[in-house]
């Protein structure tokens, strides 16, 4: 059976418009989260990691007329464009396109939006991207709450393994909108300070915005220097509650188990875990329980939400790309915002950037609807 790999990639975020810029900021300990006071978005000030609009519009000039595209489209186009340029990939009938987003262009539902309401349909977003870049196949839109970004990687792998595609491009993205902020606020889940995943004094999440794109391929000649092999994956449901995570971490535990079984490796070979770590009480606690049930409590773990906030449908892919760079640079990056352990089970949160030979990592995510995803990656070079 053919192997599948993660290859060329890009991140568009408050920390930069390339993966390299993002990693430089992370390694310097720069967070993109700031206090935002914008009454158009939310009546009260909030903490978020926002892309500067003028920078986005300037960068977008090379692709099109800024006013014809939504904010999210510009972010996702730019991200995907960078990956296509880097990889020099020829788009054929065997090239798939996967879009991962939680809410897409939901901001056009606002009566003040100048865009037609049809733009809110996710298949419409898929069509925009498909047509712009000339993909031959209809986009597969993954909309599975906060696991979408990493689930998209798993779906790409499954479609390649079953022979439908040779290569898949994934474009993921979500923006900060009043729609999302007001909803999380009604859940009393928004922190009134920069978020502190896994910490004793955590007070909830920050919402951020980002786009990320990647080439998933079975073709060895399409591999980038930082390429990783996808060893195994799983996405299991908690079957417990539609918003609250399982108290026992059941779905995440099963997802990791499923990924490990397929990867045919022992837990002891995992060098690093890139966790979900939203900094809500229940999520972080649930993850600590699931990791310990899997005997992964000693493995170095971080959450990147301290740098980006929760970027929803982009987060899983964005964090996977940072994980790739972690392995490529043999460096464990600080779990930004962490102070004192605030979960009931012991986990090994990364407190400072650490050089260490790294081969294998586990990416996890969990979300509303009781969904969880775990994927295991291994270095190629």
């Amino acid at each position: 059976m053919s192997q599948t790999y993660l290859s060329y990639n890009n991140i568009i975020s408050s920390l930069g418009f390339t993966t390299a810029q993002n990693i430089e900021n992370i390694s310097l300990g720069n967070s993109g989260i700031e206090k935002v006071d914008d009454k158009k978005v939310l009546q009260t000030p909030f903490y978020s990691s926002l892309i500067k609009t003028d920078q986005l519009d300037t960068a977008f000039q090379k692709l099109g007329n800024s006013i014809d595209f939504t904010r999210l489209e510009k972010m996702m186009f730019l991200s995907l464009n960078d990956v296509l340029e880097q990889s020099n990939l020829e788009i054929t009938a065997k090239t798939g396109l996967i879009i991962s987003t939680t809410k897409g262009n939901v901001d056009v539902l606002d009566t003040n939006s100048k865009f037609p309401k049809e733009r809110a349909y996710l298949a419409e977003l898929g069509k925009q991207i498909q047509q712009f870049f000339g993909f031959k196949n209809e986009a597969i839109v993954v909309s599975n709450a906060c696991v979408s970004g990493i689930l998209a990687v798993s779906v790409a792998k499954r479609m390649i393994t079953s022979g439908v595609y040779d290569d898949v491009l994934i474009a993921s993205g979500d923006i900060v909108s009043e729609f999302i902020l007001s909803g999380f606020q009604s859940f009393q889940a928004i922190s009134d300070a920069p978020c502190r995943p896994f910490s004793k004094n955590r007070t909830g999440i920050n919402i951020g915005e980002a786009a990320a794109a990647i080439l998933v391929t079975s073709q060895k000649e399409n591999l980038s220097p930082d390429a990783l092999e996808i060893l195994g994956d799983g996405s299991c449901n908690d079957a417990n509650h539609i918003s609250g995570p399982s108290r026992t971490g059941e779905g995440l535990y099963r997802s990791i188990q499923s990924a490990l079984k397929e990867a045919m490796i022992e837990t002891s070979t995992i060098d690093y875990i890139s966790a979900h770590g939203t900094a809500t009480n229940y999520n972080d606690e649930m993850e600590a329980i699931a990791f310990n049930r899997m005997e992964l409590g000693d493995v170095p773990v971080n959450s990147l939400k301290g740098y980006y906030g929760h970027t929803l449908g982009a987060s899983g892919l964005l964090e996977t790309i940072v994980g790739m760079q972690s392995l490529f640079n043999n460096t464990l990056y600080t779990s930004y915002g962490f102070d004192e352990l605030g979960v009931s089970q012991s986990i090994n949160v990364i407190k400072e950037n650490t050089k260490k030979p790294l081969q294998t990592f586990l990416k996890t995510a969990s979300g509303f609807g009781g969904c969880n995803t775990a994927v295991i990656f291994k270095k190629v070079h």
Partner: protein, 85 residues
Amino acid sequence: MEGLKLELKEKIIEQLNLEDVSIEEIGDDDPLFGDGLGLDSIDALELIVMLDKDYGIKLTDPKEGKKIFESVAIMATYITANRTK
């Protein structure tokens, strides 16, 4: 107070979509959560919105809600003392 309690029962049934529950089945002192009406965490958040919308009471700490939403009687007492509309 009796009027407010009745009003609360009606609102709880309607806003939390308790299809199979009638006003008579909710006693003033019956626990709303846990073994009582079996409300869950989303219902608790929804009751916080109701306090704000209908009675002008803003709760910022969900833990506060736990005490206030113990029963209809306790809710009514709290609303009477704190309502702004």
